[in-house]
């Protein structure tokens, strides 16, 4: 697994990487994660169940993303891959330059590659155009791509000009047991609407600013709990000042991952106002915690939740207010039982399922034949009139660089790392647990 985004950075991609790796390890695979160094978190770290994380020293430019280095990353990447005897490289997130580079180098080294896309892109703004070019470059020669929703698949296929058969849809998952509903935390006298998101334009905070005062004016027994932080926070606070809603709207600031559930269970309704969303794990978590979800109908959101858990609205102020009206009515009349959502979702989105389906992708790509270099060059050449030639030069250089590395640092001289004995470790854990049970007073550590 390669991505710029991993813990201690918090977010959807990070937790996806972690949970998927854990499940794959449990299924008997060996998984390592390559990311860049985060502050003092450098070198190699071992996480639960021997999940090894390589923090490659790299400069961070913007929001935890490293700048593209072209070939700078290759030597260290090759050493890691040979040392750990890796056969499949799986990159995550299109924003990550490291992931793109890893995929190109892995192809040069003759490894199988896979890529997971976590976000949606338009086609009209300049940043998307540049991003899409990059994506087209790395994905020209990839074995398989995974997307988190069908909408995201359509988007990726168009952006990178892929064959749709080479793109699988494997959704994200939640650990339903961590989002157990708890009706006792709710305030029985009022209806509480929870909003948890980064407070940015893309998350539709302008809509929220417009909707909150209207709902508060309409219902005297409705409260808002708003979690998260971001540039639009000022607008939200101004709204609260302007409409004198200090006792009705509560701001929690940024929320840590483990506090999310405790915040969610305080409410009966979850409101999502995003303007674009590939999958939106937030609404799944909210439904898991026993909340009725009201969301804008954008991107992959309509695919995510069954109809009885979610109310859709167009990304318009009036429509959102209407949807919230319906939701509040449903809650007050007790027409829905959100507390049961957890059991249903447990079946739908489990990491075991995701790991199983990802494993199938891995199995399929390990059986494919490696194309010769000329075949690879041909696929890059097709990228564009000028850019195709440029890509070919880059790939050819990459290949030469690899041959040079093979000569200066031969394969045999790289010592393979010992495999983490997962089964033995599990047995030891179990034994320790048993001993704990026998001698409750003794600390096992």
């Amino acid at each position: 697994m390669v991505s710029d985004f991993f813990y201690p950075n918090a977010g959807g991609v990070e937790s996806h990487l972690y949970h998927l790796s854990q499940r794959l390890i449990q299924r008997g695979h060996k998984v390592i994660i390559i990311t860049h160094a985060y502050g003092s978190r450098t070198g190699i770290r071992c996480l639960t169940n021997g999940l090894k994380v390589y923090h490659v020293p790299m400069m961070v430019v913007f929001q935890a993303a490293s700048p593209p280095t072209l070939y700078g990353f290759f030597p260290i990447f090759r050493s890691i891959v040979l040392r750990e005897r890796i056969s499949i490289v799986h990159g995550h997130q299109a924003f990550s330059a490291m992931c793109h580079e890893a995929i190109i180098h892995a192809r040069t080294m003759g490894l199988k590659t896979c890529f997971t896309d976590h976000s949606l892109f338009g086609f009209s703004d300049p940043s998307s155009i540049v991003m899409n070019k990059f994506l087209k470059f790395t994905l020209s020669d990839i074995d398989h791509v995974v997307c988190v929703s069908h909408t995201s698949k359509e988007n990726t296929v168009l952006r990178a000009a892929l064959t749709p058969q080479n793109v699988s849809v494997i959704p994200n998952a939640v650990i339903a047991s961590r989002f157990k509903p708890d009706p006792s935390m709710q305030d029985p006298n009022v209806t509480t609407i929870v909003v948890i998101s980064r407070q940015t334009y893309r998350k539709g905070m302008d809509l929220l600013v417009a909707v909150v005062p209207r709902i508060c004016r309409k219902y005297s027994k409705v409260r808002f709990v708003i979690g998260g932080d971001g540039p639009k926070r000022i607008d939200l606070e101004q709204m609260r000042e302007k409409h004198l809603l200090h006792d009705r709207v509560e701001f929690l600031g940024s929320i840590k991952a483990h506090q999310v559930r405790n915040t969610l269970v305080r409410g009966q309704i979850f409101l999502n106002t995003s303007l674009t969303e590939a999958f939106c794990i937030g609404i799944v978590e909210a439904a898991c915690a026993g909340l009725l979800v009201v969301s804008t109908k954008v991107g992959g959101v309509p695919e995510v939740l069954p109809r009885h858990m979610i109310l859709f609205a167009k990304p318009e102020e009036d429509d959102l207010v209407e949807a919230l009206d319906r939701a509040i009515e449903m809650i007050q009349r007790k027409e829905v039982q959100p507390a049961k959502f957890n059991d249903e979702l447990k079946e739908m989105y489990s990491w075991v399922n995701v790991a199983e389906r990802t494993e199938k992708v891995y199995d399929a790509i390990s059986q494919t034949r490696d194309p010769p270099l000329i075949e690879r060059l041909r696929s890059y050449y097709g990228c564009g009139v000028f850019v195709g030639k440029l890509f070919c030069i880059m790939i050819a250089l990459d290949y030469l660089f690899w041959v040079y590395l093979e000569w200066i640092l031969p394969r045999d001289e790289i010592e393979p790392a010992p495999k983490f004995p997962y089964k033995k470790f599990k047995k030891m854990c179990q034994r320790a647990d048993k001993e704990d049970e026998l001698q409750p007073g003794v600390d096992s550590l």
């Binding site: 398989h144 359509e154 334009y201 303007l275 167009k314 009036d318 034949r369």
Partner: protein, 312 residues
């Protein structure tokens, strides 16, 4: 297509007999379907919209719109011609100042009249404008000796090169698009500044204060006030706009025919290319336009009560 149909056999989580007729595929993530993960349905990319917002252009309307650019180019050419006339003594500074003043007065009269016609309720403070104009030209007169000696030590080649660059900047950043006559946009002001700077550089080549003042006042009238008038004419009548373009074109041609016939030929060819060939080119190139829209696009939030939403 090495991995076509990742799992042909019914997947373990689906648990449905292969013999059973397949229920149609649905674009949902929460249901377990007996289709492989890489299944491509017929509905794939159904919601894709191509060129939804593309406007087809009409040749003559584009030709008409292109006059905005040709007028601006003509005005720059005319200014350069006037400088050359002044430089070689073919035009006296008195004549230029008189011409500029009369032109400005007539232009202002027209501007004032059309404004009161268009928006009768607006109350223009003519006194204030007049006071400002007098103050401005007095300041300019006071600054003239300084401007005169500004680039005395710089060689002429540098000056010509600098002027060309500055006029190109003026051409590139001129506010062609907006029809508004009040608010000044940033690139628009950058363009005006470039033109005024070019005029200062040119004016400093002169030997007498009166020449410098003449060219500078003309530059201010020509590059700061005249575009406003042109915008006004365009918003009032198409015919007036065409007539103005033609007058500017003729003026530029006659002025430069005394200086260099070669430049006249290039200028005329350029104008023909700009006015008649470029619109055709634009329409022809439209066929390569490929605008893609779909459900993945960032939605535009619609907010009532007239509040605007600013991006980011």
């Amino acid at each position: 297509m090495a991995c076509r149909n990742i799992d042909q056999a019914p997947s373990s989580h689906a648990g449905i007999l292969p013999a059973a007729p397949r229920s149609p595929w649905r674009k949902l993530l929460y249901v377990k379907q007996e289709y492989p993960d890489n299944y491509v349905d017929d509905t794939f990319l159904e919601e894709l919209q191509k060129n939804a917002n593309v406007r087809q252009y009409e040749y003559w309307s584009v030709v008409l719109e292109s006059t905005i650019i040709s007028q601006h180019i003509s005005s720059i050419v005319i200014f350069v011609a006037i400088f050359i006339y002044l430089y070689f003594g073919l035009l006296s500074s008195h004549a230029l100042i008189t011409m500029g003043t009369v032109g400005t007065a007539v232009g202002y009269g027209f501007w004032d009249w059309s404004n009161t016609m268009l928006t009768p309720d607006s109350n223009y403070q003519r006194r204030k404008i007049f006071k400002g104009a007098v103050l401005f030209f007095l300041t300019l007169l006071g600054l003239t000796p300084i401007l005169k000696t500004l680039t005395e030590k710089t060689s002429e080649d540098t000056i010509w090169a600098l002027t060309v660059i500055l006029f190109l900047a003026n051409l590139a950043f001129h506010d062609y698009g907006s029809g508004n006559r009040r608010n000044i946009k940033y690139p628009g002001s950058l363009s005006t500044n470039a033109a005024i700077f070019a005029s200062v550089v040119l004016a400093s080549r002169f030997k007498t204060n009166l020449h410098v003042f003449g060219l500078m006042s003309f530059a201010v009238e020509w590059f700061a006030l005249f575009p406003m008038l042109r915008r006004q004419v365009r918003s009032i009548s198409n015919r007036g706009n065409l007539a103005l373009s033609f007058v500017l074109f003729l003026t530029a041609t006659t002025l430069f025919s005394q200086i260099s016939p070669a430049i006249v030929v290039i200028y005329i060819l350029g104008m023909v290319f700009l006015t008649f060939v470029c619109p055709f080119w634009l329409i022809w190139i439209q066929r390569y336009k490929n605008e893609i829209h779909g459900p993945w696009d960032e939605a535009r939030p619609k907010i009532q009560h007239g509040r605007s939403v600013d991006n980011y």
